[in-house]
């Protein structure tokens, strides 16, 4: 038996209330957070269009980060949080 100190440590956590998922999508708006990777806008826009068609949503709104390697600004996140009913995001390439 070998007793060692764990090299991983604890994880910092905070509680975040889960948003209430809308029961009715008609008239709601989809916002897209484009991470600026090459195909992100095309992929997410096409997905948004299909959701719009399927559930009768209003036209989607696209937000574009400054650059893929940096996070969205607080202002952008606050703006999305104040206006969006549903947000589509993607990561990686």
């Amino acid at each position: 038996m070998l007793r060692v100190i764990s090299p991983t440590g604890a994880v910092a956590t905070r509680e975040v209330p889960a948003p209430i998922f809308p029961e009715e999508f008609a008239g709601k708006s989809i916002h897209i957070l484009d991470n600026t990777k090459h195909n992100a806008r095309d992929l997410l826009s096409d997905l948004a269009r299909r959701i719009e068609d399927a559930f009768g949503l209003g036209p989607s709104v696209i937000h574009r980060k400054d650059y893929a390697a940096v996070g969205a600004s607080d202002e952008m996140l606050d703006d999305i949080a104040s206006r969006a009913d549903l947000v589509l995001v993607g990561t990686a390439d």
Binding site: I5, A12, T13, T36, Y67
Partner: protein, 357 residues
């Protein structure tokens, strides 16, 4: 007052203590290592690493992407695993503190497809006192301090930050510096101010600078006898397509590790570090038409407003301003220097090394 050390999160492994090979295999199986053999961080060894530390539970930083809390105890465990001597520990702690600063954007470094690893540059008297290598082969293998300090940071990033290849670390190829990437600045061969003095610290302070760096790109000039000749080679060498520099220029930096012989020739011709920065800012440039046609990232670029005024005949720099060029002297005999582009989403960070943890 020194508190009595009581280990926090202990794990009992079903392994005999003397089974060195099985210990390493078990650490690899648990994704607790970089794949190389580790020194088991037993409570006694961790306590020795923490000698003099007043509060082992103190959190030095929260490490993306796992959001693990890098306490002094956990950093000590990873330092033991890396093979550090206790006198290296303050340097490792400073390096962890540095990569956790917002400017370093650790989340991007840990998860990007880009081949980036933190280059640790130690500047100041501690480098010599702990036996770091700033001379021949300083970026390669063979020096205990360079190897294990860099490795301890990387193990902490793996274990606390969760930057495990193929999971949170999405690097296409990775980077050999993800095992260890650590040098000391040359004190005796540096004709200019030391890096820590440039950053505003006193002569007797020691610092760690972490650079979000690609692997070193060779810059070979064996025949130049003037500073201008060598700097002209450097200008062409650091201006290569395939890097993120000209595209994510709001954040990018370029670092130059000048070999002592190149540095001596350049300095003898009267060039200051700022002269070098201005010259390379002006000369290390891409034709805009080239970036548009074969640059590889056109359309994904993020530029300051004034860059948008460039026309096709204009030349675009590899850094947004001369001060984004870091210059350090290190290495041994020979007519080589190296250029190190950055990852695109992060800035280098310099912090002082606190000997009283």
């Amino acid at each position: 007052m020194t508190a009595t050390y009581r280990p926090g999160d202990v794990v009992d492994l079903e392994i005999e203590a003397e089974s060195v090979d099985q210990i390493s295999w078990e650490y690899a199986r648990r994704n607790w290592s970089d794949g190389l053999p580790v020194v088991p961080p037993t409570p006694n060894r961790v306590a020795e690493m923490l000698a003099g530390v007043s509060d082992p539970a103190r959190v030095i930083g929260t490490m993306a992407n796992r959001l693990g809390e890098a306490t002094l105890e956990v950093i000590a465990a990873n330092s033991v695993m890396a093979g550090c001597k206790p006198e290296f520990f303050p340097i490792v702690v400073a390096a962890v503190r540095a990569v956790c600063q917002e400017d370093f954007n650790l989340g991007s470094v840990q998860s990007t497809t880009h081949p980036v690893a933190p280059l640790v540059i130690v500047s100041g008297p501690i480098a010599k006192s702990v036996g770091m290598n700033s001379g021949s082969g300083c970026m390669g293998a063979g020096n205990l301090a360079n190897a294990t300090i860099g490795r301890a940071l990387r193990l902490t990033m793996l274990n606390v930050g969760g930057g495990i290849a193929g999971t949170d670390d999405r690097a296409t190829h990775g980077h050999p510096g993800k095992y260890s990437y650590c040098i000391a600045e040359s004190e005796s061969e540096n004709p200019w101010a030391a890096l820590h003095v440039e950053k505003g610290y006193s002569d007797d302070t020691s610092t760690v600078t972490v650079v979000p760096g690609e692997a070193p790109h060779n810059i070979n000039n064996h025949v130049g006898t003037s500073g201008l000749h060598i700097l002209s080679t450097i200008a062409k060498s650091i201006c290569t397509l395939g890097t993120n520099n000209p595209f994510s220029i709001k954040k990018t930096e370029m670092w130059l590790i000048l070999g002592p012989e190149h540095a001596a020739t350049i300095a003898a011709d009267g060039w200051s570090k700022d002269d070098i920065r201005i010259y390379l800012y002006e000369q290390a440039r891409f034709p805009l038409s080239e970036l548009k046609s074969i640059g590889g990232l056109w359309g994904m670029h993020s530029w300051p407003n004034w860059f948008e005024g460039f026309c096709d005949a204009d030349r675009v720099p590899v850094i947004a301003s001369p001060d984004r060029l870091g210059i350090v002297v290190a290495g041994g005999e020979g007519k080589h220097s190296v250029g190190i582009p950055s990852n695109g989403g992060s800035r280098s960070v310099t912090v002082p090394i606190d000997l009283m943890l």
